[in-house]
């Protein structure tokens, strides 16, 4: 289990300081998937980099199984590395081009503390099996694989350490759509077999929805809503989640006009009060009497059990029209 408590991450110094992550709290249970969704610049990748120890945490706490890993030094310790691993967005740049797959995975296995050549080989084989790659991949270099295969290698390398938690940062956004499906299916089966917890970060709500047990929606460095996956999409309690859901083009549905106007403000100079108020379709731009949005930062309050939303008017957010649930199966094509 990994827990973030009021975590703040900053970039730069002095007048150029950007608070990319501003006091977020998250909790990822063992064997579960937490989806973190948001648009570019919302700070979701910063969260990932802070968790894996590539960035320091300015304040707040990070706990893994109740052990404190808030300092950068502790997150760079071998013990932490063995627990928390990461898969990066672009499989073309996240693998060392001068290292065979066997060496890359072997390196990870060594860090796990596996001794003996034969034993290491056995672990490497079973890891590759987990990501559905054959053993012959070991002697080849990354550039000899397709994008989807490379992402499997990157996943295998993270798994080779035997981690409790994997941070997956936009791992399908560099891939073709036909390849994306295999990676998503793979992630599910890996989780079933190893019981690893996954923090799945993406800008794509439909992908997040498909993989996650719980979902957190981020906007401009803050978490605006947190709920079980099904709840969030059927009845979002934050206008931003609602807008995000309605912005996604959907097959078999008529086009809707864009739900929000404007663009993400400069994170160096975030709006007062609720950070979404200048774009919000329920905020003071539409309802001038709702000045509270401009003045007070909304607290994250439970709307229902385990459904949190940081909105002054959470109760008024309209539900999403239920979409028809359908089964998609290629075998139907042949019938």
């Amino acid at each position: 289990m990994i827990e973030l408590d009021d975590v703040v991450v900053r970039y730069g110094a002095g007048a150029n300081t950007v608070t990319a992550v501003d006091g977020i709290s998250l909790r990822l249970d063992a064997g579960k998937t937490l989806g973190l969704v948001g648009e570019s610049g919302c700070g979701k990748s910063t969260v990932a980099r802070a968790i894996v120890g590539l960035l320091p945490i300015a304040s707040g706490r990070l706990l893994v199984d109740d052990e404190d890993y808030s300092t950068l030094r502790s997150r760079n310790s071998p013990a932490y590395r063995r627990r928390v691993q990461m898969v990066f967005q672009d499989p073309y740049s996240s693998l060392n081009p001068r290292m065979t797959v066997g060496r890359a995975i072997g390196e990870a296995i060594t860090l796990r503390g596996v001794r003996g050549r034969a034993e290491r080989r056995r672990v490497a084989q079973s890891t590759l099996e987990l990501v559905e790659l054959s053993e012959s991949a070991m002697s080849r270099y990354p550039h000899q694989f397709s994008g989807g295969q490379r992402q499997r290698i990157a996943i295998a390398r993270a798994l080779a350490v035997g981690p409790q938690v994997i941070i997956a940062d936009e791992i399908t956004s560099a891939l073709d759509v036909s390849i994306q499906a295999t990676i998503l299916n793979l992630l599910r089966s890996v989780q079933r077999e190893t019981g690893v917890s996954i923090l799945f970060i993406s800008h794509d709500l439909s992908v997040i929805r498909y993989l996650s047990d719980t979902i957190a929606v981020m906007y401009l460095g803050e978490i605006v809503e947190r709920a079980a996956a099904e709840d969030l999409f059927e009845r979002p309690r934050h206008p931003y989640s609602n807008a995000l859901t309605r912005s996604i083009p959907q097959l078999g549905h008529d086009r809707q006009p864009a739900p929000v106007s404007g663009e993400l403000p400069d994170p160096r100079n975030p709006p007062s009060g609720c950070r979404f108020h200048i774009r919000c379709f329920m905020g003071p731009t539409q309802f001038p009497e709702r000045t509270i949005c401009r003045e007070e930062s909304p607290q994250s309050i439970p709307a229902e059990q385990s459904h949190f939303a940081a909105c002054h008017f959470a109760g008024l957010v309209p539900p999403i029209e239920p979409a028809e649930t359908h089964d998609r199966d290629m075998s139907r094509a042949s019938s």
Partner: protein
């Protein structure tokens, strides 16, 4: 695993030359002074300054010594000192450059600026300076050249190391917990080694030249020791009597320097596994006759006045080492006035190339065949000037990256009005007015104010709006939008799609929208073309998308999760990956990934067959089933 190192080494340009020439130089260096020193120093005062003869092949110098012998003997000192100097450069350079990387972040810029400062002095000047302090002679010269060369190596080493250490795989290794030393060796050094080898061998070459130059200036090797520079000094004095005396050492310097250059290239290739596997000529494409392809462009009929765009049998050919490869083949479609047509495909499916072919933006050496008619005019029948005029006034293009179509150095008002002034010869103030009106139309607040700003001052969504407004300046009949929202967030994407719909409704501008996003295209276009491996495999109205016939389209529909995807059902997997352009399968290009593939699919390309008057599908199996169910 044993990489085919030798095979690969031989493939390097000039590898053989490098091995042979460096081998000769080294052999001469070792052997010549042992055997020939006596011959080289023998004085024959009566035969001074002779030209080449059978006795002295390269003639003699002012003291009557045989130039050939001297040249050969001088190799040891010339090349040997160059080796020492280059080794010195490398040692100091790597220590300085690599050290800069290992230093704490605050100290790093200090060292890097020092290196830059030293680089500002010409290397030869530094060498002379050091040489002068230590005193003339081979020791001073070598040290001088060594130090002078080190700053260049330090600069390259530090730049390479910094750029590699910012790569994601280094971050990945850090997350993995790879130790600092291992990180430096296995990740940073391994990924810079080939470039560094080139730099070091180039330094050997330049050291030979610099050392010779120092000797020539009298600061280097002193008589009676001989190197090529010293011979050059002697030779130049007799240049008008026996030019060979000066030319011979000059040629020796040039050739030796060159051979080390070749050696560097070959070694670098040896160290780079990315080059060990090269595409061999096993592609399935036969060599096509250029004339045949061009002759096959069929002249089209001139019907369909309503169509703003008619594409017929469009193919785009690229010459490659396996023959001419078609990245787009036999594509035909029409776009009617006011229609929005979507082209969907994965990377490598040729969708962008189709757009580029329409606007005549196919880069050399690729070339196209087939017919493209814009507003009824066949582009191949127009002069280049007429084509520019027609495309400039009736077709506008919006690209994925708006910055690629905006000039970062110009204010937006100039960029927005330029095309109208050029193509329609309207006055600047009229053009300004319509620009402001169009900016308002694409929902830009404070349009007047925005006109005075530079592209980099805008957000991605704003830039894309500006390029759309820019495209609309000449009231085009057709707008081609190539992945216009791929770089944008979904909330902004929805806004941009609103803009496209409004343009389409208010001006009946036809739009060709290209994307990899099936749902986006499905929701925003009237008609959809599905492309795979350079061909259109299916064409259908948007409301029939869920009842697609082609197995590829159906698989795509199942592979992309959407908000109504059942969570317990796995996504449809399409095995394998999109084929490489150079190795597309024979027959139907989708057959290796298709669960319905039959024998005919492996051999024959399925034609795009009309179905129900409004749709087309290119699949042997689907078309057979549809035909039999009809009868």
């Amino acid at each position: 695993m044993a990489p085919p190192i030798l095979h690969n080494f031989r493939r390097a340009p000039g590898a053989t030359i490098a091995v042979v020439s460096v081998g000769i130089v080294v052999a001469v260096m070792i052997i010549a002074p042992l055997l020939l020193t006596k011959n080289a120093t023998e004085l024959h005062v009566f035969r001074a300054n002779q030209g080449p003869s059978s006795h002295d092949w390269l003639g003699t110098d002012s003291l009557g010594r045989d130039i050939l012998y001297r040249l050969v003997v001088a190799t040891r000192l010339s090349v040997g000192l160059a080796f020492i100097a280059a080794g010195l450069s490398a040692a100091i350079g790597f220590a300085l450059g690599g050290g800069a990387i290992l230093l704490p972040r605050q100290l790093r810029p200090v060292v890097l600026r020092f290196i830059d400062m030293m680089l500002a002095f010409p290397a030869l000047l530094v060498a002379i300076f050091v040489g002068a302090i230590i005193g003339p002679g081979s020791k001073g010269a070598t040290l001088g050249v060594g130090i002078a060369g080190s700053f260049y190596i330090a600069r390259v080493a530090s730049t390479l190391a910094i750029s590699v250490s910012n790569r994601e795989y280094v971050a990945a290794a850090r997350v993995l917990g790879v130790r600092r030393v291992a990180l430096l060796v296995r990740y940073i050094l391994a990924n810079t080694a080939d470039a560094l080898v080139i730099v070091v061998t180039a330094t050997i070459s330049s050291s030979i030249v610099f050392l010779s130059a120092l000797s020539f200036l009298g600061l280097g090797v002193q008589s009676p020791q001989i190197d090529w520079g010293e011979m050059l000094t002697q030779g130049v004095q007799q240049f008008y009597i026996t030019p060979v005396a000066a030319l011979a050492p000059a040629v020796a310097i040039a050739l030796t320097a060159l051979s080390f250059g070749f050696a560097g290239e070959a070694l670098a290739r040896l160290l780079n596994p990315l080059l060990w596997t090269t595409t061999d000529g096993s592609g399935r494409h036969s060599k096509k006759d250029l004339a045949e392809i061009l002759a096959s462009s069929v002249a089209s009929r001139g019907d369909g006045d309503e169509a703003v765009l008619q594409v017929e049998n469009l193919s785009v050919h690229v010459p490659s080492n396996v023959g001419v490869v078609d990245i787009v083949s036999q594509v035909s479609f029409n776009v009617a006035r006011g229609e929005i047509v979507g082209i969907v495909g994965e990377s490598g499916s040729g969708k962008t190339t189709i757009a580029n072919a329409i606007t005549q933006l196919i880069p050399y050496p690729a070339f196209m065949s087939g017919t493209v008619r814009v507003c009824g005019s066949d582009l191949s029948k127009l002069t280049p000037k007429q084509t520019d005029r027609l495309l400039g006034t009736s077709v506008a293009t919006v690209f994925q990256d708006p910055m690629s179509s905006l000039n970062p150095a110009l204010r937006l008002n100039i960029q927005l009005t330029e095309s109208a002034e050029v193509h329609r010869r309207v006055s600047r103030s009229d053009a300004r007015q319509s620009a402001v009106r169009l900016l308002q139309e694409v929902n830009i607040p404070a349009a007047e104010h925005l006109m005075r700003r530079y592209p980099h001052e805008l957000s991605g969504g704003m830039r894309q709006r500006v390029t759309i407004a820019m495209g609309l300046m000449n009231q085009p009949a057709l707008l081609i939008a190539d992945e216009p929202t791929t770089a944008l967030d979904v909330t902004i994407q929805a806004q941009i799609m609103d803009v496209f719909q409004e343009i389409n409704e208010t001006h009946s501008t036809a739009i060709v929208m290209i994307s990899h996003n099936l749902a986006l295209i499905g929701q925003n276009c009237h008609r959809i073309l599905i492309t795979y491996a350079g061909r259109i495999v299916e064409e259908l109205p948007n409301d029939r998308l869920s009842e697609a016939y082609h197995p590829y389209t159906r698989a795509l529909l199942g592979a992309v999760p959407d908000m109504s995807q059942r969570l317990d059902a796995p996504l449809t997997q399409i095995p394998g990956a999109s084929p490489d352009v150079h190795a597309r399968p024979a027959g139907c290009a989708f057959h290796p990934r298709c669960s319905l593939a039959e024998d005919v699919c492996r051999t024959d390309v399925p034609p795009l067959v009309d179905r129900e008057g409004v749709r087309k599908v290119a699949c042997w199996v689907a078309n057979r089933k549809l035909s039999t169910s009809r009868s």
